[in-house]
């Protein structure tokens, strides 16, 4: 049987997104997303992060903490996560954190991950969210944590004794080219939607069944394992989080199912000094949270 002597502490980051499935999403007459009327669900790509986390727990032992940041209504997203598997749930929520962009989110989440005791060995996050589609939160959080990151992971194996992760990943997100990488823990991992959990031993399958049953029983009373943290508990200055801490400006949201997004982008040539200066000029007022 597997050796559980040195367990792995795992965090999964998840986010609620509007349920974009046909018939669920609603827009007002101007084509703006009506968040209030559109149900919120777990970001579909976060399921792969959940599966990778569960595989790690089943095969190497340990604890899975699922963390989200958002309004109190996101509790249900955490319950959805617990239906897959969770030992503990954390929701980072208060007014000051609202309307954060990926940068401010990363700073907030990083503070929360660092506050966990013991400090986790692996953080899993989903590949892009279904609403933002930036794919930035993960990498920015890993940057803030100063951890290595592996993206586009399709399979992984954690070596508890060596404290290493071996992962197979798609090179440039392309299914045709797969490389194997080895990274020391702690590490940030973003599974690809092609991720497949692997349970090669009979004991893995048995433990998976037991854990799945157990978590489903627990998920009815999920609030018992839920901790809410606000900016005070995280010791964060409101000026650096939420909308105030976000350098990004959102121009307009286009209804995704109806038309492909056509945001306006100015392409800046990195060699072109004046273009860069112009951009910095635009961003400068926001960088200080003003």
């Amino acid at each position: 049987m597997d050796n559980n002597s040195s367990d792995i502490d795992i965090v999964v980051l998840t986010k609620g997104v509007p349920d974009f499935r046909e018939g669920k999403v609603s827009f007002d007459e101007h084509g703006h997303l009506e968040r209030g009327k559109t149900p919120t669900v777990m970001n579909p790509n976060d399921r792969f992060a959940m599966k990778a986390a569960l595989q790690t727990k089943v095969r190497s032992g340990g604890k899975i903490t699922v963390m989200s940041m958002g309004p109190p209504g996101y509790k249900e997203i955490l319950q959805e996560a617990m239906n897959i598997y969770a030992d503990e749930l954390y929701l980072l929520s208060d007014r000051e954190m609202a309307a954060a962009d990926t940068w401010a989110t990363a700073i907030t989440i990083c503070s929360a991950v660092e506050k966990l005791d013991p400090t986790p060995d692996i953080v899993f996050a989903g590949f892009k969210t279904a609403d933002g589609e930036t794919g930035h939160t993960g990498p920015q959080t890993s940057w803030a944590l100063e951890w290595p990151i592996i993206t586009h992971v399709v399979s992984l194996d954690v070596d508890v004794d060596e404290r290493k992760i071996r992962a197979r990943r798609l090179v440039q997100g392309d299914i045709k080219e797969i490389e194997t990488v080895e990274v020391d823990l702690p590490c940030f991992v973003i599974p690809d939607p092609e991720f497949e959990a692997e349970y090669p031993r009979a004991s893995h399958r048995l433990r998976l069944q037991n854990l799945t049953e157990e978590t489903q029983v627990r998920s009815d009373a999920y609030e018992e394992t839920l901790t809410m943290w606000d900016h005070k508990e995280l010791n964060l200055d409101p000026d650096f989080i939420g909308l105030d801490g976000s350098p990004t400006i959102v121009g307009r949201v286009d209804p995704i199912p109806k038309a492909p997004s056509d945001r306006e982008a100015t392409i800046i040539d990195l060699e072109n000094k004046s273009g860069l200066e112009e951009m910095l000029g635009i961003m400068a007022p926001f960088a200080g949270g003003k």
């Binding site: 009979a202 399958r205 037991n210």
Partner: protein, 553 residues
């Protein structure tokens, strides 16, 4: 190399045999892992099915699973009739005597419901031993040590596992039975083929005039199957009927009969018109090989740490028209487990197989499976000359007069258990005798039958499959008509001139001459096992979770 995982006991297959074995192992705190290839237990299984609890048996399913009858069965079967058919004339006998002989109770079952319920019980009991039950695992072979001795199993989905005992309860298409050399797939005469439909019928009580908590079984034999040796059945479930046929496989081959057409002959006979109408609705079509224990049961079903139980060991008794496979699988599964527990206590678990063999004999199970009287009957009666003489006498004016004189009292003979255990495997009991009885003492059936059975293509398209694309589980290794042509008719989802089945006949030109060839497409396969016996194939079950999924069984 990684070390293999080890459990005290591996049980392969979560049918009645596997469930019983696991229950006894768990009861004795043996760390037990049960491996089932279906996505849920029962999703691969087919029975008629009436499950018996015999007075004389040391184990019955309700001993091992006390809630079984409340949770997993359809109806108690309280009436039992045999119909001897000759054209539109039918002579019906009450076979209650035979049905109740040695019977504590008998219930109709549908296997998906029955096996999935059993598997949940098994799951929670084996979990407590440190093991458990895993679905979707196809055990594909035996793991042997450096001296070739069996020490565990290999699987498609997970790493090999070793164990102190491997109980193979993997049914009639057991790959472990073949891999060990304890059973083979050579002789069609050792097998029956069972084909069945589950028919939707909400008004079972009204139509069959049944009180609550009662049910009826009807059996059919005679000339309606055009000389193919075997018979038909109709069993009442809660809100459906199980209707099917069971024929000797060698007879199907000799007559080149199409299995699904034989079933249609039963479905469209006027006798069934009293119960079925034009709104006839089939829920599921299925089929499976059935071993004939009289010939196939291995009296020493063990090798090293491997013990075979149930259909895997050929332990399926055709007691005249009564089919007893599930109950014997239960008994054998429990005995195999008990044998291991006892030998482990003595520190000699390697001898579990021998102990199991002894128990099969001492409890009388082997005697039921291979009745000593049958070996006498076999020599005397299963002989072409003898059959011709007996059939000649029966069909002669003298024989007919004798049957007329006996009239319906002849039914009494059918109720003699010892006779039914040793019915010779010839056309006499299956075809000649019932036909003459029908002709001589039968009455003309007045009801009309308006059933229009579905085409084979429709029956196939109603089934659920998860095809393992690009990985056919059966490989045809000789495509000549002589070697494999029999499968075109005998495969229950193939037929001559039907392009949508598994086996097809093709004409190809070789050196200017037209030759017949056979081709195979496993997509519509319902995993019955027939072609493993009647064609030259490399036969295995699909990977875990793959292939056909029966919802009723």
């Amino acid at each position: 190399m990684r070390e293999y995982e080890h459990y005290e006991a591996i049980v392969v297959g979560a049918g009645p045999g596997g469930a019983a074995a696991a229950a006894v192992l768990a009861e004795n705190d043996i760390e037990t892992i049960v491996l089932e290839r279906g996505m849920e237990a029962g999703s691969k299984n087919v029975s008629g099915g009436l499950i018996y609890a015999e007075e004389s048996s040391p184990y019955t399913i309700d001993n091992l699973f006390p809630e079984f009858r409340n949770e997993a069965t359809e109806r108690p079967i309280t009436e039992y009739k045999l119909h001897n058919i000759s054209g539109e004339k039918v002579a019906s006998f009450d076979l209650k005597g035979l049905h109740e002989y040695d019977t504590k109770w008998c219930d109709s079952v549908l296997r998906r419901k029955m096996d999935s319920w059993l598997s949940k019980e098994v799951q929670s009991r084996t979990q407590e031993t440190g093991g458990g039950l895993i679905n979707g695992i196809h055990v594909n072979g035996l793991l042997r040590d450096e001296n070739g001795k069996i020490k565990g199993v290999t699987c498609d989905e997970i790493d090999p596992i070793t164990a102190d005992v491997v109980i193979a309860a993997d049914g009639v298409t057991s790959e472990l039975a073949r891999a060990s050399g304890l059973m083979d797939w050579e002789r069609p005469e050792e097998w029956f083929q069972g084909v069945k439909v589950v028919v939707d019928l909400k008004e079972v009580d009204n139509i069959f005039d049944l009180e609550p908590e009662t049910g009826i079984a009807h059996l059919f034999s005679g000339d309606l199957f055009e000389g193919v040796r075997g018979g038909g059945f109709l069993y009442t479930n809660q809100e459906s009927l199980s209707i099917g046929t069971v024929f000797h496989l060698d007879s199907i081959m000799e007559e080149e009969a199409e299995s699904h057409e034989l079933l249609n002959k039963l479905l469209t006979h006027p006798l069934l018109g009293q119960w079925l109408d034009k709104d006839y609705c089939e829920l599921e079509y299925s089929a499976k090989l059935v071993p004939d224990s009289k010939k196939a049961a291995n009296p020493n079903p063990h090798l090293d740490r491997l013990l075979l139980v149930g259909d895997a060991a050929g332990q399926m008794q055709a007691q005249g028209p009564i089919i007893k496979g599930m109950n014997h699988a239960v008994t054998a599964g429990a005995l195999a487990a008990e044998a291991f527990v006892e030998m482990k206590e003595r520190g000699d678990s390697e001898k579990a197989g021998e102990r199991y063999e002894l128990k099969l004999r001492q409890t009388g199970l082997m005697g039921k499976l291979r009745p000593p009287m049958y070996s006498v009957v076999k020599v005397v009666a299963e002989n072409k000359v003898a059959t011709a003489i007996v059939d000649g006498v029966l069909t002669s004016p003298v024989g007919r007069a004798a049957i007329r004189t006996m009239g319906k009292r002849i039914g009494k003979l059918y109720n003699v258990p010892i006779l039914s255990m040793a019915i010779p495997d010839t056309s006499t009991p299956y075809v000649t005798l019932p036909t003459i009885i029908g002709q001589e003492v039968g009455e003309i059936i007045k009801s009309k039958n308006l059933v229009d059975p579905p085409e084979l293509a429709d029956r196939i398209s109603k089934l659920a499959y998860d095809t393992d694309i690009g990985k056919p589980h059966i490989e045809l290794i000789d495509n000549s008509y002589a070697a494999s042509g029999g499968a075109v008719t005998a495969c229950p989802v193939s037929a001559v001139g039907f392009g949508g089945g598994c086996y097809r006949m093709e004409e190809i030109e070789v050196d200017g001459k037209i030759e017949l060839r056979v081709s195979l497409d496993t997509q519509p396969c319902i995993e019955c096992g027939t072609c493993a016996v009647v064609a030259k194939t490399e036969w295995s079950n699909p990977r875990g979770n793959k292939g056909v999924e029966f919802k009723h069984g």
